[in-house]
Symmetry: C2
Subunit: 150 residues, 2 copies
C-alpha cells in the first residue's frame, strides 16, 4: 500500500511536469516563492538521496544536493535544463523502482542507513518503509504547490 | 507508522493554523486560488467523512460536505468563523483519534465501507489503512499550499 502511494505521487509528478510548459515551470508557485524548476530539482535530489539512505547505492547526481537541497532557490545557481531534469527524474525513479521491486517486506522493515543498529534495537520504526512514507508525504507537499503553476 | 504520519500531518495543520492570523487565513494561497479558510474547511470535511467511511460513526458536521467539498471556494457560501472551524477540527480529530487508538491491525486491514465484501475478496488493498494513507497524502498536498499563507 505504501508502494502504491509512493508510485501514485511519482506518477502525478511526472504527469504534472509533462503538462506544464518550460515557461510555466520557470514561474514562481506564488509571488516571491520557489519556482517550479527548483521544486522539481528538489524532489529529484530528495529521491536520489534515498539510494544511499536505503542502502541501495550511490547518489546518481551528487551535485544536486548542493543545488536543490542545501541552497535555496534564486541564489544565483545555474539549473540543469528542464529536459535534463526530466531525464534525471526518470533515471532516479528507474533505479529506485528496481530496488523497491526487489525488496522483501523484511528488508523494508529493517533499519535505514542513518540509524545505528543499537538505536534501531529500541526504535524499530526507524526503518526503510517509514522513510518511504515520509518521502511520499514530502512529495505530496510540493506537488500541491506545483499544481498552482497550472 | 501510518498512524504516526497521519498524526504528524494533523499536528502540522493545527500548528500552522494557530500560527496564521485570521486575516492570513482569509487570503488566497496564490492569486485567484483557494483561500486558507476554504482549505481548512475542506480538510476538516474530508477528515469528518472518514468517520462513516471507516465505519466509526456518523458525520459530525454533515453540512460541511456541501460547503467545502461539493462547492468550490468563492461561490458565495458563508463559512463558519475561523474560531468555529478550529473547534470542529479538534472535535473531528478527537473522535478519529479515539477510534484509531482502539483499532486493531486486523480492523485496519479490513474493508472500508465504500467497498462491497465481494469486491474486497479480490481487492484486499481497499482497506481502512489504505484510506488513511491516501488521506494523509491529501492533507500533505493542501498543507503544502497553506504554507504559502505564512
Amino acid at each position: 500500500m505504501v508502494r502504491t502511494a509512493w508510485d501514485a505521487q511519482n506518477n502525478e509528478l511526472t504527469k504534472l511536469i509533462n503538462t506544464l510548459t518550460e515557461e510555466q515551470l520557470a514561474r514562481e508557485i506564488a509571488p516571491g516563492r520557489n519556482t517550479g524548476v527548483y521544486l522539481l530539482g528538489h524532489l529529484i535530489a530528495v529521491s536520489d538521496a534515498l539510494l544511499p539512505l536505503l542502502g541501495w547505492g550511490e547518489l546518481l547526481y551528487p551535485e544536486m544536493e548542493e543545488l536543490f537541497i542545501k541552497t535555496p532557490d534564486k541564489s544565483g545557481q545555474t539549473f540543469p535544463t528542464v529536459g535534463e531534469l526530466k531525464l534525471r527524474l526518470e533515471a532516479v525513479n528507474a533505479k529506485l523502482n528496481a530496488q523497491l521491486d526487489a525488496a522483501t517486506a523484511e528488508e523494508l522493515l529493517d533499519r535505514h542507513m542513518a540509524v545505528k543498529p543499537e538505536d534501531f534495537a529500541t526504535q524499530p520504526h526507524r526503518n526503510k518503509l517509514n522513510v518511504i512514507i515520509s518521502r511520499t508525504v514530502h512529495m505530496a507537499n510540493h506537488i500541491g504547490q506545483m499544481l498552482l503553476l497550472k
